[in-house]
Symmetry: C2
Subunit: 158 residues, 2 copies
């Protein structure tokens, strides 16, 4: 995955959190993900396809998911329910959407957002794809954004 493709995702996450949630997200770390373990217990997943294929994973602690959803829903969410899961999916969709708008040359389309729960869930990428994992700090706690992309044979390398 070419490094310049990661910046639109970082910018989109910061912008989505600022504009949708009134919440500054500060990048704290960036790494090649060493294994498949989701960093937190609620993960929004959006698939991308076009001149490249990829996956965007937004992983939140339960606390960050509840705070973000409460802000989006304009009502206090105190447990993970369908509304909170929809809000996390929508947030992931917005992060992916903002990034793909910046990556015009890849002609990306987003799939449905799915949300994975379960304390010890792991989201594995194909072993020939090395996802980049970016950690952020917010006033509500930490979160991670993980992006893995691969070229499709008939198009230019990603």
């Amino acid at each position: 995955m070419r490094a310049e493709y990661i910046n639109p995702f970082i910018a989109s996450l910061k912008n989505t959190f600022r504009t949708m949630l009134g919440c500054e997200a500060r990048r704290s770390d960036i790494s090649l993900k060493p294994d498949g373990r989701a960093t937190y217990s609620v993960s929004g997943v959006v698939g991308l396809s076009g001149k490249a294929v990829g996956t965007v994973v937004l992983s939140l602690s339960e606390q960050v998911a509840l705070k973000a959803a409460s802000t989006m829903l304009l009502t206090e969410a105190t447990r993970i329910n369908d509304d909170v899961l929809d809000a996390v999916g929508e947030l992931t969709n917005m992060v992916a959407g903002g990034a793909k708008a910046q990556l015009e040359d890849l002609d990306l389309m987003a799939s449905l957002p799915n949300v994975i729960t379960g304390l010890n869930h792991e989201i594995h990428f194909p072993s020939n794809v090395t996802p980049i994992c970016i950690s952020f700090d917010t006033k509500w706690g930490k979160l991670t954004l993980e992006v893995g992309m691969a070229p499709v044979p008939q198009h230019a390398a990603v």
Copy 2:
């Protein structure tokens, strides 16, 4: 989701298992998925986008995942490792690929295959999408295929 869109996925799963694994998969049940719990502990996930957006989830018990991977890898797999996860992802990709070839009018493209593990993981769809869950019996055990699709605003209803 229009009912006629599910048959290509059922046919593709049967065909993929027969041709790639030498394994007959018999459909045992079909239902609208009542909640987000993955039926089994290893789930391959592929996103679809085009004139519709969707997700395909192939959920296998550890035993079925190991038997399927052993057949694909031509070597006995005894535990879930990266090779087994890649095989499950590739199997999910083939099921999705076979179905999208039959759904030409939707111009679908597949994202990267991801594989989710964790005994109690749940894969949630957006609450306005009702996935269809199809159960299959094989000589190795049971598995489920789950497909959820939704129209995209600028195209015809799915």
